[in-house]
Amino acid sequence: LFPRAPPEQTPSLCVLADSREISSGAEVISCLKARHGVKVQVCSLSSSDYVVSNRMAVERKLLSELLNSVNRNKVTQRIQRLQSVFERICVIVEKDRVRPGDTSRLLQRTQYYDGVLAALARAGVRILFSSCQEETAALLKDLVLVEQRKDAAIRVPTEVEGHKREMLNFYLSIPNLSYLAALNMCHHFDSVKKMVNSSPLDIAAGAQVSPQKAEEIFRYLHYGFDVQMLPENLCAKGR
C-alpha cells in the first residue's frame, strides 16, 4: 500500500470579491486565481471591493479618484460605511492605467490628496500603494496571508444554496453586518431560531465578530418594533 498523502499543511486561501470588480478589476481577480492560487468567490458585497478575512475589508481606489476632490463625498461615505461594518479596513491606492504615449493623464499630486492620506492614516485605515492590477492582486494575497497568521482567515464554504441561501439573505438584512459574518452565521447555526435565541457571546463566536458587534446584533433582534416609527412610504406600499 502507498502511504497516504499527508494532510495539506496550509489551508487554501480565499477572498470574496464584489461582483463589480469583474468589470473594473478583471486582472486583479484572474491574477489572484492563476498566479497566487487564491480562491476568489464573487458575490454581491455592496459595501466593499474585497473581503480578505473575518474582519478585514479592502477597498481598491484609483489614484485619480483620490487626487480630485470632486469625489470627496463618494469616497468619504464609502469609508464611513466600511468603518461601521468592519473592524479593519485597508485601502489600496492603485495607479491608473495609462496607454503608451498618452501624456494627458500625467497626474499631479494635490494638497487634497495629502489631506486624504493624513485623514485615512489618522483613522487607523491601512494604506497600500500599487502600480497596477497585478500588484494589487499580490498585495491582496499578502493581506490574506497576514490575516491567516492572525487566525482570522475565511474558513467557511463561501457558496450556499437552498435553505442556507434563504438564511443568508435574512442575516444580510441585519444592519452593519458584513457578508462574511452573515455567512459564518449560516454555517454555525442550524436554524434562524437558534441564532435569534443566542446570547451575545454565542453570536460573537458564531459570526466571528467582536463582542461589541455581537451586542449590536443582539439588541437588533430584541428591538421593540413601533409601527408609528416606520416611514410612511414603506408601510403604505404593502397595502
Binding site: 469609508i79 468603518q83 461601521s84 485623514a119 435574512f170 438584512s173 435569534v196 433582534l221
Partner: protein, 209 residues
C-alpha cells in the same frame, strides 16, 4: 542612541532632527509651520505631535542597503509612538518599494507614505500637521473617516429583515411585527400563535425557518 520616546511638541509646531537643518524639506516647511530643531531625536526625523513622528527614508537610504530596515525595527521595538514612514519613491528606488511596503505596513504595522522628493514630503507633512492642529482644537468632526455613532431608527431595517422570511411580503411583515413586536418574539412564536395572523401555510413556513 535609540531615542524614540515621546517628546512634548508645542501646538502647531514640528520638532525636527538637527540633521535636517538647511534641507529642502526644512526650507519649504518654514513659513507654513513653526519648525524647531533639536539634536537628540535619535531615530526620529520629525515629531509632529506628542504621539506621532516621522521616519524619513531617502532614495539614497534605499539604494545603500538594509541599514534603514534595522533603524525601523529598532524604532518599532523601542517606541510606542505612532510612526509614519515617509519614503522617497523615485525611478531609481522604485524597485525596492514593494519590499519596503511589505516590511513597514504588513510586518511592522506602521504607516507608509511614498513621496517623489523632499518638496512633496514637505507638502505632506504640512497636511499632516494641519490635521493634528484641527484635531487638537476640539474639532471632533475634523476627520471624515472616523466612524460616527449614528443613531438610526431600526424600524425600516427590522421591517426589511422580516420580509426575508420565505412567504412573507410587506403586508404580512407589518401584521407580524404589530402582533409580535420583535424579531426575537416572532421567531419564538408557535404555529398556533402565527396562524391567526398569516394563515396556516405561512405560519408553518415561519415556524420552520
Amino acid at each position: 542612541p535609540v531615542t524614540a520616546g515621546s517628546i512634548v511638541v508645542p501646538y502647531g509646531h514640528v520638532i525636527g532632527n538637527e540633521k535636517w537643518r538647511g534641507s529642502e524639506i526644512a526650507q519649504k516647511l518654514q513659513g507654513k509651520i513653526r519648525l524647531i530643531f533639536e539634536d537628540d531625536l535619535g531615530l526620529v526625523d520629525f515629531h509632529l505631535s506628542n504621539r506621532t513622528c516621522i521616519l524619513y527614508i531617502s532614495e539614497a537610504d534605499l539604494v545603500a542597503g538594509d541599514e534603514f530596515k534595522r533603524r525601523l525595527v529598532r524604532f518599532r521595538n523601542a517606541s510606542n509612538l505612532g510612526g509614519i514612514v515617509i519614503v522617497e519613491k523615485t525611478q531609481i528606488s522604485d524597485q525596492y518599494f514593494l519590499a519596503v511596503q511589505k516590511l513597514v505596513v504588513l510586518e511592522l504595522g506602521m504607516v507608509l507614505l511614498p513621496v517623489a522628493n523632499q518638496g512633496e514630503a514637505s507638502q505632506l507633512i504640512t497636511q499632516l500637521v494641519s490635521f493634528y492642529v484641527r484635531e487638537q482644537s476640539k474639532d471632533h468632526n475634523s476627520n471624515p473617516f472616523v466612524r460616527k455613532q449614528g443613531s438610526q431608527l431600526a424600524e425600516p431595517s427590522v421591517f426589511r429583515t422580516v420580509q426575508q422570511i420565505p412567504g412573507v411580503g410587506k403586508t404580512k411583515a407589518l401584521l407580524l411585527l404589530q402582533q409580535f413586536g420583535s424579531i426575537h418574539r416572532l421567531c419564538n412564536a408557535s404555529v398556533q400563535e402565527l396562524e391567526p395572523v398569516v394563515g396556516q401555510t405561512v405560519a408553518r413556513q415561519i415556524h420552520s425557518f
